[in-house]
Amino acid sequence: MGRGYIVDDSVEKYLVSLQTASLSSLTGLLIGQSLPQRDFVVLAVQTPQKAKSESDPSERKPVHSLCDIDTEWVTQHAKQVSWTLPGGLSVLGVFLITPPDLEKEAQNTLRRLVFSVEKLISKGRLWSLNEDDVSERVGLHICSKTRRAVCRTFDVQDAKSSAKPADWKYQHGVSDSWLVLKCSVELHVRFPTPDITLENLEKSTKVSLQKWGNQIESSICLVNGVRVSSDSELISGQKKNTKAFPSNLRAQILIHNVRKEVRTCASVQVCGGVLALRGVVHCRAYIHSNKPKAKQAAEALKRDIMNTVSYRTEMFFEDLLMSEADGERGILGQKQPLPQRVFASVPGAGFCVCDYMFPDEGTAEVKERLKETLDCDIPEEEVDLTQEVIAGELLLDLTDSLGGGGNPIDPLFNLKYICLCWTVGGNPHKHGNHTHTPHKLSRGCTSTTSRNPAIHTVLQCHLHLCSFYSLCQII
């Protein structure tokens, strides 16, 4: 018995291609989608080399003994990988390629790695596994000489459980006709902060984001106008042999406005400041195409919404703390853009991965990062920057907000000032580990806003048209 793993043949090709010098071992991650009965594995990524040697970046330091495998490095890589995965995709487990004599110890190493990876990836998440989720993760061992693969699963919720055998089967085009659920979510999180140190800010952000995450988790999801219920299929009335799936699955998220606790008066907090998270994030989730359940797709989408916001804030604070450590004062200005989410289609597969681009980066950096993290060659022009608006662009479309389509009620748009975020150009400035050239003008545009070319050609001056009072209104 045991679980069945249906693996795309591109993964087979990749695993075969991993050349190992004799007597050395290799680790990596397996990525795909988990269903109650079986899993689909659609991507495999080897753990990147730790220290790049100056002379030859492709030269790998051979790992001879399994004790040399740096668990922390593997798990850190897994975390980076999980940040690139949209909803519906996750790290399903670990693979280990070893020479024949290490086969027995390999099982222990796999177990260690699988548990550590799961632990780090779940840390800091705004959601946790529920009883419908599969808690089995795979540990795949391949003998470098015979190419024989042994597949076992570990229950990550039970540290004392023993490994169970599982089926590993290759198939062509596993993700070819996968469906995607997309949406743009408006963020509106505002919370008081005790005082201004970065650690405190990060802590209050985490607490408030958890509350927001709970709202998302308990929200109603509509797909093409129909409320997702526990048993419904994502595509109703699907005929047996039809290949024509609806190309547009429109997802909507409705948050309940409920009064949970009964109080007699408003809660009052003395605070030293207020932090607000606003803007629109683009989210998506992939779901297999074989009678997919609507509930699973909706859950994958909701988790992607929560993930993309928590990853970004984590990334943002990490970056800030790093620049503080670098000797630069961690400048948390009054208005800071969060990294922008960009997507890239994986060559030969039916899904995209994503990356987060800081305002002073471009597609070159994205390509480089995706190569490093996912061992994936994605051409620069395939990087899709259009799903989210980049800070530095006109935030408001004046014709839209003052014209028809409802009242411009949201204080953000009612304001006396326009948030035009230009920066002083021409000065390279340090951002984390990279030195950047002047901010690139953004490419692409979102389809909903019409663009005024005149504003776009303008240069660079920092404009604070707003008074502090108006800024209060935004918050």
Binding site: S184, V185, E186, F191, I196, I216, I220, L222, G225, V226, R227, Q252, I253, L254, I255, H256, N257, V258, R259, K260, R263, T264, C265, A266, V268, Q269, V270, G273, V274, L275, A276, L277, R278, G279, V280, V309, T313, L332, K335, Q336, P337, L338, Q340, V389, G392, E393, L395, D397, G405, G406, I409, D410, P411, L412, C419, T448, T449, C472, I474, I475
Partner: protein, 465 residues
């Protein structure tokens, strides 16, 4: 079959309210709160507001020309057509409501609506950003418990109804703003809670907002003003929190049956007029509350029924007393020795009067008849009592105690029938059984022991609002 002509839409939800206060002077606070409430009103008028019709797959966007999720539902759909999309689970309503449907009471049906916010499909796109503002202040946050009711004719379009609902929500927010400003102290803001009251025509269903935590006694000036504006009597409590209308689809959670006499078909007796208890009471009887008082507790139960009337009309806040508490009260007023507490001794009308006075502050009149057959001659007194006081009457005599909820009396012929609530019932809260078997029912003058003497305790309604 009663063809319903009207339907009530009730929308409920908690609306987020936040505001930052760094000073407490009057004009600043007023201005800041005003702005904060304005932004809540904006949220209600925004295109992302969604009405979720409970028990149906229909979601409506009232501020987006009534976009709806269900095909065929548009702003021109009538309320009657909308009702067809609603499915109430049979399992939720107990035997009580299925019986009620056949009765003549012709309840208006309720369509409950949830308040939701759509976070997808934003009107405008903007980059995700972190905004920070420094400065010490008080961050005030609460969820405003919005609760609006709009009555509509079955043939009215839901487009109109949704417009009215949004307007009602905005008006309620304005009322809430006034209440918060009026009752705040420093930076402590009371949560404004709406209450609905079903008042006699022409007023109908009205909503008032009261500050949470402020007891009814302190809100008398507010009620005086409301009574004056709505031309309500100035000596009868109509708008205390306890008087709030209990919607037909909201079950009472304490397990007691409410006003079982309403489920009866009153007999027709020529020339007689009906004089009934006015208001809601709970049916208290033997064996309830895990108290086995079979054989001795009937007067206690009748007293409990009377206490429940005063509590539910809002005259007292005290919950219905237990047998022990009743006995303790009698010891406290010196009427019984200390050993009385915990005993199974009977009480009579005099004791009922004493307890009502001591525990609830209610005065009562005692009516004495030397023989049961004389009760038939007390029609005028009883009719007057129900007209002016409207409270349930406890009657004790022979070896039994009962509660009289009303009379049917003819001034000309003297014919009389008594509506009796019997506390000797030992079964469960089954309205069908209670009404079918006459535990709550109409009795003739021969119901009383013709030769025993009876004392009646007639509680007097306080003249207060």
């Amino acid at each position: 079959m009663v063809v319903e002509k009207h339907v009530m839409f009730r929308v409920r939800g908690g609306l987020d309210f936040t505001c930052q206060l760094d000073r407490t002077d009057e004009s600043y606070v007023k201005q800041t709160l005003g702005k904060a409430f304005e932004s809540v009103r904006s949220a209600v008028r925004s295109p992302s507001l969604v009405f979720g019709v409970q028990n149906s797959p229909v979601f409506l966007w009232p501020n987006r020309s009534l976009q709806a999720t269900r095909q065929g539902v548009t702003e021109n759909t009538t309320c009657r057509e909308l009702q067809q999309h609603i499915q109430i689970n049979e399992g939720d309503s107990g035997k009580r409501s299925s019986k009620k449907k056949d009765k003549k009471d012709g309840t208006t049906s309720i369509i409950n609506v949830d308040l939701l916010t759509e976070v997808t499909e934003p009107v405008l796109c903007s980059a995700p950003m972190l905004f920070r503002q420094e400065g010490k202040h008080h961050f005030v946050k609460m969820k405003l418990p919005a609760d609006c009711v709009v009555s509509a004719h079955m043939d009215e379009t839901i487009g109109d109804v949704c417009t009215h609902l949004v307007e009602a929500l905005c008006t309620q927010l304005t009322n809430m703003e006034e209440v918060v400003l009026r009752h705040r102290s420093g930076t402590s803001l009371p949560i404004p809670e709406p209450f609905h009251f079903l008042l006699p025509e022409p007023v109908g269903l009205i909503t008032a907002v009261y500050p949470a935590g402020v007891p009814d006694t302190q809100l008398e000036p507010v009620r005086k003003e409301l009574h004056r504006r709505l031309e309500l009597p100035d000596d009868r409590s109509c708008m205390r929190r306890a008087n709030a209308y209990h919607f037909p689809d909201e079950p009472y959670r304490d397990g007691y049956l409410r006003s079982p006499h309403l489920a009866l078909n009153h007999p027709s007796l020529e020339g007689t007029k009906l004089y009934l208890v006015q208001g809601i009471y709970s049916y208290h009887h033997y064996m309830q509350d895990r108290m086995d008082d079979n054989g001795w507790g009937c007067a206690y139960r009748s007293l409990q029924t009377i206490c429940s009337w005063f509590q539910q009309q809002g005259y007292v806040e005290r919950v219905v007393p237990s047998h022990k508490e009743i006995q303790q009260a009698l010891v406290d007023v010196g009427d019984k020795p200390a050993s009385f507490v915990g005993s199974r001794q009977w009480i009579g009308s005099i004791e009922v009067q004493a307890v009502l006075s001591h525990l609830l502050g209610i005065t009562s009149k005692i009516l004495f008849v030397s023989q049961g057959s004389d009760l038939a001659t007390k029609g005028r007194e009883l009719a007057n009592h129900f007209s002016t006081e409207g409270t349930p009457i406890m009657i004790g005599g022979g070896v039994l105690a009962h509660t009289i909820l009303g009379v049917m009396w003819s001034e000309t012929s003297g014919e009389i029938k008594f509506l009796v609530l019997d506390p000797h019932y030992t079964g469960g809260e089954d309205l069908q059984v209670i009404t079918d078997k006459g535990w709550c029912g109409w009795k003739g003058p021969d119901f009383w022991d013709q030769r025993a003497y009876y004392n009646l305790c007639l509680p007097q309604r306080p003249r207060a609002i």
